[in-house]
């Protein structure tokens, strides 16, 4: 791998790149560390007035941390932020709003029970003089104006919860526009918009540019970056790779900047996949509103990739398979037998299917408990002493210690509190509990989100070994295309709740990464 280009450590270098023009918002050598992850590492960036500036990078590259710092949701460990030449020191999100920095976040954050107008005007409700009483007609008028700009023909009194996801997203955009912010950050704003709505949005953003406002646009979609943005800054592993004018750049250059190499990591050495019997098969699986007619099968020794955008139906399908969500139609076969899985307890005890959640802190771990508890929770009932019905401490410790050794979990020992581990090691603990329970079908959801590079490679190695050496059948859900291509034998592409394509034969080494990714990419449009 080539050494990364000069990152933000070199402040003056960036200045030259950015040109000597005026700046609206400037970050100087900003660093932020979270337990186990260096989220931002000496990033210096400047945003000019009257530009649309794209911010791209893989998952975990530091984009969301950067947004949080700019909007005052978190404070940097080191470095400074300048806004119109003044040094900023936010105590809270309100501070950044007051300064004229607003954000449209990726997740939809609306108050479902209140009206569209109230959501738009929430932070700037108009009152009758100093009485503190809300002037609803004025609020509704102001909101209607903002709605008109985003092209959402709704009465301002409409209650939010009846809106579609796209409409809610537009309401959020209207809210940010109504604030007349000088800097507007948009985090994946088009993820739930139709093409028409997206085009309207781009028109609005261009008019903001004309007015001299700064738009910071976070996106995974290259076509948007090239069509809309003047400049693009690329983050990788918490560092700034560089800032370029989009007209001087090709999509291939941008990929190279994001991923850091032409061809992604080579596959770990090892035997070619020798596939065993079919372990899991889904036939016409339906989950109302989430998954439509999913058909696939996965064999022992195989890694089946589920690729697609968030909400495309991948995790939703996984949740049906493990019985966390109800099956509304179709059938699931485990080892050739029709299976009725009603809960994760069923999938674990009867079918030896394990599920590593994408959300390890909320759904995967008992953070306050020791590593030992988290690893052995799935096997307590198997290591009970006959007489006292007590869990055998010695066997429990032995299992935990074996897993800590096998998976190279960096902890002081099985008794260390899980919260104290780094993201990558926590992820290994999440995997370990299913291996301890001897599961041979594993559904692994976004295994490397929020883990640093070293741990990422270890986890990749581990997943590879589980399939190749231990003959596990693995379903790998990931939004990280290099990861999916690197590890999978076969990839299913999900779009709009359906499996829209299959790309097989990834391990015969006949195609390059670029060819495979292009093939997968074709199904996404």
């Amino acid at each position: 791998m080539a050494s990364p280009p000069n990152s933000g450590r070199n402040t003056s270098g960036l200045r030259n790149e950015a040109g000597a023009g005026p700046t609206m918002l400037e970050l100087k050598a900003v660093s932020k560390r979270f337990p186990g992850v260096q989220a931002l590492d000496g990033v210096s960036l400047s945003f000019a007035p009257g530009e649309i500036h794209a911010l791209v990078g893989e998952n975990g590259a530091g984009k969301s941390t950067l947004i949080k710092i700019v909007t005052g949701l978190t404070s940097p460990d080191e470095g400074e932020i300048f806004f119109e030449g003044r040094r900023l020191c936010f105590q809270s999100y309100r501070d950044s709003l007051a300064q004229g920095i607003d954000v449209v976040s990726q997740e939809i954050q609306v108050i479902p029970e209140s009206t569209v107008a109230e959501n738009i005007m929430l932070d700037k409700l108009i009152t009758r003089g100093k009485t503190g009483l809300i002037d609803w007609p004025a609020v509704n008028r102001a909101a209607a104006k903002a709605l008109d700009i985003v092209g959402l023909p709704l009465p301002p009194e409409t209650v939010i919860k009846s809106l579609s996801a796209a409409q809610k997203q537009l309401v959020q955009i209207a809210k940010a526009l109504a604030a007349e912010a000088k800097v507007l950050l948009l985090d994946e704003p088009t993820s739930s918009l139709t093409e028409h709505e997206a085009r309207t949005l781009f028109g609005i953003l261009r008019s903001l540019r004309e007015k001299g406002q700064t738009v910071i646009f976070v996106s995974h979609k290259f076509e948007e970056v090239f069509a809309l943005c003047d400049r693009v800054s690329v983050l990788r592993d918490g560092r700034l790779v560089g800032t370029r004018r989009t007209e001087e750049l090709t999509p291939a250059d941008l990929v190279k900047m994001m991923i850091g190499r032409d061809i992604v990591q080579t596959r770990p050495a090892g035997p070619a996949a020798s596939l065993g019997p079919e372990m899991l098969r889904a036939e016409h699986v339906v989950r109302a509103g989430k998954v439509e007619d999913a058909n696939f099968s996965v064999r022992a020794g195989e890694v089946l990739g589920f690729y697609g955008l968030v909400g495309a139906g991948r995790t939703e399908l996984a949740r049906v398979l493990i019985g966390e969500d109800e099956l509304d139609g179709g059938a699931v076969y485990v080892r050739g037998q029709k299976a009725r899985i009603r809960s994760l307890a069923d999938s674990l005890e009867r079918h030896r299917i394990g599920y590593v959640t994408e959300n390890r802190k909320e759904e995967g771990l008992f953070l306050q408990s020791p590593v030992r508890t988290n690893i052995t929770v799935t096997v307590w009932n198997r290591i009970v002493r006959r007489l006292t019905r007590a869990v055998s401490r010695s066997r429990e410790s032995a299992i935990a210690r074996r897993m800590v050794d096998d998976l190279d979990i960096r902890a002081t020992g099985p008794d260390q509190k899980t919260e104290e581990l780094s993201g990558g090691n926590q992820q290994k603990v999440c995997l370990a509990k299913w291996l301890a329970a001897d599961c041979d079908i594993l559904i692994i959801d976004e295994p490397t989100v929020g883990v640093d590079v070293g741990a990422k490679e270890q986890i990749h190695r581990l997943i590879w070994d589980l399939a190749r050496r231990k003959d596990k059948a693995i379903i790998l859900i990931s939004s990280d295309m290099p990861e999916v291509i690197l590890l999978s034998t076969r990839v299913l592409v999900f779009r709009d709740r359906r499996i829209v394509g299959e790309v097989g034969g990834l391990d015969d080494g006949t195609r390059t990464y670029a060819e495979v990714s292009a093939e997968i990419g074709r199904y996404l449009h």
Binding site: E349, G364, L365, S369, T378, E419
Partner: protein, 325 residues
Amino acid sequence: MTTHDRKRSGVSGRTLGLAISAAILFAALSLLSQSFLSGYTMFVISRQMAFYVLVALSQAFCLVVGQMSLAVGAIGSLATIVLGLGIDTWGLPAPLAVLLALGFGVLAGAANGWLITRLKIDSFIVTLSMMFIFMGLRSGISGGQPYKIPASFSFVGQKSLFGVPYVFLLVVLLLGLVGFMYRNTVFGRRMLATGGNAAAARLSGIATDRMVVWAHVLSGAFAALAAVLWASKLGSAAPETGDDWLIVSFAVAIIGGTGLNGGVISALGILMGSAIFMLIKHGLVEVKANPYYANSFLGLLILLAIVVDRVREVYSGKPKGKASP
């Protein structure tokens, strides 16, 4: 998950702190009052402590799985009525009436658990409603009059072994079993896991709904047991039994270190909590505090216990970010 989970051998810092507090209170009361160290006072105090422990456990079972029960006292009260009806009205043999009362506690708890998990209603709402339903039933059925029970029934509640009340011995034994259950058995550990992180527990293959139902069943059973023993102590089945249990159950459980967010319990802590609670109440009598203010002291005590716990958390430097998401 539990304090035990982290420190297997010996006693956690929190429980040690409770024991020291209890010892200081004990020493202070010994100096303050001549009669304190008498056998009689010890008998009364330890017996009352036993009831506090039972009532606190009844609450703690629910707290551990991340729930609460406002119906603790109401279940106790109606269990008393069932006992009284059985013995006094229907003329059943005492052991059978006791079984009926305990059975009622189990059923009431199961009903709470079922409503909460099946209909997905918050435990606060369900147990609040059930509390009023049970309270109404007890007044309606009993008309406010106590039921007579035979003198022989009072053996457990009024007698002692070498000066130690039978009730206390029984409760210490139960407390040991409960501690063992949470520390060592799959059942107990799964309840702790459910309270520690319900989503993670469910996604680790634990039937969390079942754990919640069981927690309420245990809660109901212990409330009914406390009621039966209370009748044995009083020598009659009094309808007003359980009227002050709600606040006591929270106070002793919280002082004893039971986590309000679930997943943490210490049997020894609850014993110490009941001792502290009892000694402070006794102390207030000794210093002739106006009994009309008693509830204010109780409330203050609960607040103090939570504040102390919070301070400990902040100074041990670990989960201090919890207050803000």
